[in-house]
């Protein structure tokens, strides 16, 4: 027993010891180990246990959920337009159920030449900027636009103060030039916008355009009525606030519009300029729709063009690299992020950004694991560079 006492004494000042060639002979022994010994023993036992334990395993099951709600489908384009459909999702992700409609991009076109547009965009459109019809045609013919947004910026009282009648003429010009559906945007003047949109809606009667926009700062009733009377849809614009969006949608529904006549714009903050706020709002809005909130079950839109306002997209700065690449990436990142969080339609400017966004969006309508995947198992030796 002398050895045991020695051992315990030793242990008082150490956390662990290793004993070689240790042997004890006895008939009956009561061991009272001190806490330190206990700890060592327990730890050793536990390590052994973890290493040899057969862990229970369940079969793999894809985590597919049931959603009580559904996103409404909105048709844009009728009459002389080729229709485009937005929304219609009954699930959050493709592996649960593929989206019925792929995300749609609408190219920005303006009723005035817009010398302020960033150079990487101007260089694609400078030859057509004097005529919105030609501009729209180029977007469709050369860059495969599904839709065109005609921004009636020139109607702004501080811009060119074009009359609603003149705005209607511009709409007619664009309608003549292309057969894709239109988004009709005004100048952002709360007093004049409803008057401009009213005339524009009449000029495009029966063509099912998207009137942009109705919001709580202007006479949204007039905009809603223009849509109801001329068979158009309305863009319902709120400022990164789910409750504001709900309120406005309810007001619009009261005016006689249905879920199938409304597209929501919960506001797109650009990459680096609060994009995370937009991520949260889009996510919450879409989750609410699928959970069954009928005030939020409309497709969503993103003013992705906002990205070009970010200085990283346009400012000359040698240590950031050429703006020719930065600009399009900024627009792609902004749009793509919105798309991955549920947005259905994108207002965009640069052909490269549009192309890449659509390539990814196009996969949303395919079923899980139905694409031929390349063999990447040897990428470590095969990747160049």
């Amino acid at each position: 027993m002398d050895k045991m006492t020695q051992l315990l004494k030793l242990l008082e000042n150490t956390k662990s010891i290793e004993i070689n060639d240790f042997r004890m002979d006895f008939d009956e022994l009561e061991l009272q180990l001190m806490p330190a010994v206990q700890q060592v023993v327990q730890q050793a036992v536990q390590t052994r246990k973890a290493a040899s334990e057969v862990l229970p395993m369940e079969d793999f099951k894809p985590p597919i959920q049931d959603y009580p709600g559904k996103v409404a489908e909105v048709q844009l384009g009728k009459g002389s337009r080729k229709p485009v459909y937005l929304g219609g999702q009954q699930a959050l992700y493709r592996f649960e159920e593929a989206q019925p409609n792929a995300p749609v991009v609408t190219f920005d076109v303006f009723d005035i030449p817009m010398p302020g547009l960033p150079r990487p965009i101007r260089e694609h459109f400078s030859d057509v900027m004097d005529h919105p019809g030609e501009w729209a045609k180029k977007a469709v013919k050369e860059f495969g636009a599904n839709m065109v947004t005609i921004h009636l910026i020139g109607t702004g009282p501080k811009v060119m103060d074009k009359s609603p009648r003149e705005a209607a003429n511009d709409i007619e010009e664009v309608l003549q030039a292309v057969d894709v559906p239109l988004v009709i945007g005004a100048s952002g003047d709360p007093v004049k916008d409803p008057l401009v949109l009213e005339k524009a809606a009449e000029a495009a009667q029966g063509e099912r355009c998207l009137l942009a926009s109705a919001n709580l700062d202007l006479d949204y009733q007039k905009v809603a009525q223009a849509a109801v009377n001329n068979d158009h849809a309305v863009l319902s614009w709120s400022i990164t606030d789910v409750n504001m969006q709900k309120t406005l949608n309810r007001y619009l529904l009261k005016e006689g519009l249905t879920q199938n006549d409304i597209v929501m714009d919960p506001t797109t903050c650009a990459l680096g300029y609060g994009i995370e706020f937009s991520i949260d709002i889009m996510t919450r809005t879409r989750l609410a729709a699928l959970k069954g909130d009928t005030d939020l079950q409309m497709p969503m839109s993103s003013g992705t063009t906002n990205a070009w306002g970010s200085r990283e997209a346009w400012m000359k700065k040698e240590e950031w690299g050429p703006t020719d690449y930065r600009g399009p990436i900024w627009e792609i990142f902004t749009g793509l992020t919105m798309m991955l969080n549920g947005v259905d339609i994108f207002m965009m400017l640069h052909p490269t950004s549009v192309k890449l966004l659509r390539e990814i969006g196009g996969t949303f309508v395919k079923d899980y694991m139905t694409t031929d995947l390349p063999d990447i198992s040897d990428w470590i030796t095969q990747l160049e560079g």
Binding site: G321, I360, T371, P374, S377
Partner: protein, 457 residues
């Protein structure tokens, strides 16, 4: 779901010994529930209690540390699927790939670029996190040589080879620095698992396009006592990006909502694979690589390996990561009030902006770099940017008039002229009416403010 302080307290020794630095066990429990302290500081806790508590405190996604000491990066640790529910933890590690067939000078140049890549945004310096060393040659000596050179790098390492013998040779060199072993596959699982255990290193599990098999192999690694695993379900690009996304989302959903132990690990993606067999020009490759990265950043990647090092490709990636990992519980605002830049006097101009942190820091950076001498009035817009607060109504004539009174600026300057942001032009008249100040509409972007001040004044 998150555990409460009371759940934790029940399992603590309740000795109030203060060894952990807290005044009581309850205080310690509260800090633990907020992830603000470390369980290991609890000295009287017995191993059994420790194990229980570790289990209930474990995040839905295990935190895995790659590297050691001042050369480490932690990935994983997430609790939720959507950031608005809590916050995301541990920003996605951004890793650049180098391989063992590079000429010495190329390798040196590349390491220099990686270590020097940085981008400052809103007062935060954004940088990369690790280097992946790829055994492209398949040759052991070449791999060892490159790995040995990278031992001196400032960043932790990912060792990439499917050959267990080559991996072992590399671990002989840097195994004590906790590199990530990339990768265990169905063909080398036993050997790689042994290396992970022998060298106490985290290991990546690469099972492209087959979650069922991934679950089995992850389970096998866990059964062998391996705790630190990183999952690579394969990065497929082009038409395959939809499947890549689906796999990432499924893994994370299984971890967070189903608590499936085999999937409760960080996920890694390899945007560099976009370059595999691509015949496109280098600019297109860079744009596409960044695009693939943005896709995976948005949906749960905890680590990304790039091949491209162009700053115009990395700036958007760094910026998106910063946004995603900003804590939504913390207000994005600075204190409202009056700020001074340079040498101010009673003749100095007065400029207006909002208290959205990003707006403020952008303006601050521009005023400083432009060496402007000016007063800056910062309006409380509840942390909203100029255009957003204009639409939301926080930026209006009355709020600016109130700010003028509160800051006592009228007694600091000998004029009543204010320059407002270009985007605030619609309320210029309103501000003049409510404050009695003369308002000039300044540039839309604050980078032009210093020149504007010089020209106009």
């Amino acid at each position: 779901m998150k555990v409460t302080a009371m759940d934790i307290y029940k399992l603590l020794p309740k000795t109030n010994c203060e060894d952990c630095g807290e005044a009581s066990c309850m205080a310690f429990a509260t800090k633990l529930s907020e992830k603000e302290t470390d369980l290991k500081l609890c000295t009287p806790l017995d191993p059994e209690g420790m194990e229980k508590l570790e289990k209930i405190l474990a995040p839905a996604v295990r935190e895995v540390t790659i590297g050691k000491g001042d050369k480490q990066v932690i990935i994983g640790g997430d609790e939720v699927l959507y950031r608005y529910e809590l916050t995301y933890y541990n920003p996605t590690a951004l890793v650049i790939d180098v391989h063992d067939e590079l000429e010495e000078s190329e390798l040196e140049e590349r390491i220099k670029i990686i270590e020097n890549t940085e981008f400052e945004r809103t007062g935060e310096l954004l940088t990369l996190d690790a280097i992946a060393v790829r055994n492209k040659s398949g040759d052991r000596q070449k791999f060892i040589k490159t790995v040995s050179r990278l031992k001196n790098s400032v960043y932790p390492l990912i060792l990439c080879t499917m050959d267990p013998d080559n991996m072992k040779a590399a671990l002989e060199v840097v195994g004590d620095e906790r590199p990530l072993i990339y990768a265990a596959t169905e063909n080398n699982l036993e050997e790689m698992a042994k290396l992970a255990l022998d060298y106490q290193c985290p290991v990546a599990l690469f099972v492209p396009g087959d979650l069922e098999k991934m679950k089995q192999l992850s389970h096998s690694l866990r059964s062998q006592g391996i705790k630190d695993i990183v999952l690579d379900p394969g990065t497929f690009v082009g038409d395959g990006i939809g499947d890549t996304l689906d796999n990432f989302v499924m893994i994370r959903r299984l971890a967070v909502e189903e608590k499936d132990e085999d999937f409760r690990f960080p996920i890694m993606g390899i945007p560099a694979l976009m370059r595999l067999g691509s015949k496109e020009d280098s600019v297109t490759k860079g744009i596409k690589e960044a695009t693939v990265a943005a896709t995976m950043l948005n949906k749960y990647a905890d680590m990304l390996i790039f091949n491209g090092t162009d700053i115009w490709e990395l700036i958007p990636v760094l910026t998106l990561r910063q946004g995603l990992f900003t804590d939504p519980r913390k207000p994005q605002a600075v204190d409202a009030g009056l700020y001074e830049f340079g040498d101010v006097s009673e003749d100095s101009p007065v400029v207006l902006t909002t208290n959205f942190a990003l707006t403020y820091y952008t303006v601050e950076g521009d005023l400083k770099s432009g060496k402007a001498n000016t007063y800056l009035l910062v309006l409380d817009t509840e942390g909203r940017a100029v255009d957003v607060s204009l639409a939301g109504g926080q930026l209006n004539g009355k709020s600016v008039a109130d700010l003028i009174k509160e800051t006592d600026i009228e007694n600091k300057v000998n004029h009543k002229k204010m320059i407002i942001p270009g985007l605030a032009a619609p309320v210029s008249g309103e501000i003049e009416d409510d404050s009695g100040w003369e308002v000039a509409v300044g540039p839309r972007d604050s980078s032009a403010v210093p020149d504007y001040l010089l020209e106009k004044l």
